[in-house]
């Protein structure tokens, strides 16, 4: 038994590649060496695996040959291929075969390391020489050791600038040897060190989650307490935050302070340099900001006619006009209308050209500076929310209205131009918009009339409910076919149908399905129901109940009480059960038959207001 070290040395790997490797290495190493690794150590420059108690001999292997019955015909060839005599072949489970002895691990290790390197899968790879190997960045060295014996490669490398080559005396001492040269090979350890140092500086934040990247940008983290000139605090706070996070991958500490994680160097020199870069970026942003503010948000909004929203969809001025109409249709008040008018103004600003990810936020800041009411500014700020599956909805009602209007317009326009998302291609982010709209209508309880969306869009948005709601897919599909006016209603109807116990849903489901089928198959239903022709008690009872239930369903739907609507519909269940038991629909008397078909059509229409119940499997 031995301790095994395998190190793959690379030029600086992207953080995403480091994480991909870290996820795969335990399984791949186990497959290659037969033992679960005791540690996986990843930095931008090295992917290393340590395993303890690795057998120094690979296991013997049973190679199955021909069936015993083929001894005469096939065994000699098989035996020859494996360098043994026919009578040396062993018999197991009716087959002949041979046991191939395991090999020394040292002998096969170079191939196994190669297998490991080639076995790693990455989302983005490159070539750098004629070896044919693809990897996220060039592989520059390989080291494999069993205890103190070097099997492959001679040495490792420490910090890129502080230490050159390092001798590893013993596989088990690998991590310590690197630490002695200032490299912390364990990503968890690095993360803890960085977090501890940040905690030591006070309150810190990481709104764009750059820590996950920083952990793989440094091998010897040193956290520096930096600051910038206080006059840049006049900039929109997110501009400062984005500069710190996005441009230098540092962490805001509040006020004019931030923390930069260095990878070595002289702390004072590095701090001065980083502060200079941040200062320069903020100066650049200030310059742009002041030019925009001088123009003002109203004048910016007047420039939108010259900016294309997207190909075939007119300008941002056209979009602004459509937004106003949609906001009105969504019941938005004065503040929401004002917000719609100014919503896209920041597309004409220079600051958004530099910080595209801050669209909306920049406009809100400019609106604040121009003295618009906070409800207007907040709505402009929140119009792109929710911008991710787990992102919050806009916090204000005006924000929710504007956000829904923006999404409806983008969806209508995109689908109108034929930009339906296909497979993984969704360049306009339409899935995200549709999910956001769905969430606004459900979680956000915003009344979104379905008629505001083009039919194709309604369908696309409601398909998203299948993943958003707890109700099973079939209930969602059933509810989507109901003549409900608003988007959220579809969701609540689906939930109400799914909440109805099976024994109550069963009868109306059956009745609805049978009534639909009969009505489809048979011609000659009466135009109007004739009470005098309801000769059987069971049909008279259904007719009487139907009139009441229909009104109840209508009232409940109007009130948006979908549970009550479904409950009302379910009342018909036992009566319909009896009807089908006692009454022959296709009676010989033509008038009676026509009347019964009419009754069933009425049943179908009434229950149909609860959705296409036949979608629900029974």
């Amino acid at each position: 038994m031995a301790t095994l070290l395998v190190e793959i040395g690379c030029e600086e790997l992207p953080a995403s590649a480091c994480r991909e490797a870290e996820r795969q290495l335990p399984e791949l190493a186990k497959r290659a060496f037969g033992v679960e690794p005791s540690s996986v150590l990843v930095t931008a420059r090295r992917l290393a695996v340590l395993a303890e108690d690795v057998p120094e001999q690979t296991a013997d292997q049973w190679v199955k040959g021909p069936p015993v019955a083929m001894r005469e015909k096939a065994a000699p060839g098989f035996a020859k291929r494996h360098g043994v005599e026919v009578d040396e072949l062993e018999e197991r489970d009716g087959f002949l075969g041979v046991v191939v002895a395991g090999k020394a691990l040292a002998e096969v290790l170079p191939d196994q390391v190669d297998e490991l390197v080639r076995g790693l899968g990455f989302s983005k790879t490159m070539r750098w020489d004629d070896s044919g190997l693809r990897f996220p960045r060039p592989v520059r060295w390989r080291l494999a050791m069993l205890n103190a014996t070097r099997i492959l490669g001679e040495r490792s490398y420490g910090h890129r600038f502080r230490s050159g080559t390092i001798e590893i005396a013993d596989a088990g001492g690998y991590a310590e040897a690197l630490r002695a040269h200032g490299v912390e090979p364990d990503s968890n350890q690095r993360r803890q060190e960085i977090v501890a140092a940040l905690d030591g500086l006070g309150e810190w934040s990481d709104p764009n989650r750059v820590l996950a990247e920083v952990v793989y940008l440094v091998e010897s983290p040193v956290v520096l307490d930096c600051s910038f000139d206080e006059r840049y605090l006049q900039l929109p706070s997110r501009v400062v935050e984005t500069t710190i996070q996005h441009h230098v991958r540092a962490f805001p500490l509040g006020g004019n302070r931030f923390a930069f994680v260095a990878n070595g160097g002289d702390p004072d020199t590095v701090r001065a340099g980083v502060e200079n870069v941040v200062g320069g970026r903020l100066e650049d942003a200030s310059f742009t900001f002041e030019r925009d503010v001088k123009v003002g948000i109203d004048a910016l909004s007047e420039r939108l006619g010259a900016i294309t929203f997207f190909q075939g969809a007119g300008s941002f001025a056209d979009k602004t006009g459509r937004l106003a109409k949609l906001v009105e249709a969504l019941g938005g008040g004065e503040a929401a209308l004002e917000a719609a008018r100014l919503a896209k103004a920041d597309q004409a600003s220079e600051l958004v050209r530099e910080f595209t990810e801050l669209e909306g936020h920049v406009g809100a800041e400019y609106a604040r500076l121009a003295g618009y009411p906070e409800a207007v500014c907040a709505a402009i700020d929140e119009q792109y929310l929710p911008d991710a599956a787990d992102a919050p909805l806009p916090g204000t009602e005006t924000g929710r209205v504007l956000s829904a209007a923006d999404k409806i317009d983008t969806l209508n326009v995109s689908f109108g131009l034929g930009h339906r998302p296909t497979g993984s291609r969704d360049p306009y982010g339409l899935r995200r918009a549709a999910i956001g709209l769905g969430r606004l209508a459900t979680e956000g309880k915003l009344m979104v009339p379905r008629e505001l969306m083009d039919p194709e869009v309604t369908e696309f948005v409601e398909e998203r409910f299948e993943g958003l709601l707890t109700a099973p897919v079939e209930y969602v599909r059933a509810a989507r076919r109901a003549p409900v006016r608003d988007l959220g209603g579809v969701a609540r109807l689906a939930e109400a149908l799914a909440a109805l116990p099976d024994e109550r849903l069963g009868p109306i489901h059956t009745a609805y399905t049978r009534a639909s089928r009969l009505a489809e198959r048979e011609q000659g239903a009466a135009e109007e129901l004739e009470p005098a022709l309801l000769v059987e008690d069971a049909e008279a009872k259904v007719a009487a109940a139907l009139e009441r239930v229909d009104a109840e369903i209508a009232t409940a739907l109007d009130a948006g009480d979908f549970n009550a609507a479904v409950e009302a519909g379910a009342e018909l269940g036992p009566l319909l059960d009896r009807f089908f038991d006692d009454v022959l629909v296709l009676a010989d008397d033509r008038a009676v038959r026509a009347n019964r078909l009419r009754l069933l059509l009425n049943v179908r229409d009434t229950l149909g207001r609860l959705g296409e119940l036949s979608q629900i499997p029974r």
Binding site: R137, T269, V274
Partner: protein, 281 residues
Amino acid sequence: MIGTLNAYWGERGAVIMQPYHTELGAGTSNPATFLRVLDPAHPQWRAAYVEPVIRPADGRYGENPYRFQHYFQYQVILKPAPEDVLDQYFGSLEALGIDLLKHDLRLVEDDWEQPTLGAWGLGWEVWCDAMEVTQFTYFQQLGGIDLEVIPAEMTYGLERLGLFLQGKTTVLDLEWAPGVTWGDVYRENERQWSQYNYEEAPVDVLQRRFDEHEAEAEQLLDKNLPLPAYDQVLKSSHAFNLLDARGAVSVTERAAYIGRVRTLARRFAQLYVGTDGDAPG
């Protein structure tokens, strides 16, 4: 700075070239890079040169101390990429006087793509104390052709490096020569060219020029003259950049223009690679 880099890369076998004679948006477009990287007859090529790059839409009338429509790149191309290419690169920073132990130098993932040239590669931004001083790229594809021999390209931002070395905060204050600042030399230039790029450049003439350069490039390609054709591709690309800065290109047209330049670049690359025997020595 330029002298130091010339000496450093010259010692390492690079041919010290001069800037190209027509407007380029990046040193990559200089034939010393674009053509030599594609050239199958010369699997080895090393060159280094200064390139003034012209990006009409980046001008700010000399008022913004960080954005200009004309600035300088120092370009190094090593084909094939040597195994110790990063060590060589960091050696060049040391030669410029940057103490690698005093500063924080790091390689931050940044992949490069140039749709008009049908080109992409993987690499990094090189940060020195968080200042991006170089773009480092291993080219994978140029002119739509997968490269057999992978080169390494290093593009130093000379103004940025200068800021760093001189400890200045704005490019305008860079000392260009003793007693002469960058601003003294180029600020008025920026003002006038920005006015030209944004306000005066004649749209109809530029549109016509684009068409003419494109047509000429095609004719030259038909006559198996890829090298003169390449200049026409560059000129049409510059005409497009000017039109873009003038705001005369809608989003639709933009995609169409880029597509036209890319088509030319691809045709050129295919012809050029196909004419291996005749490629310029």
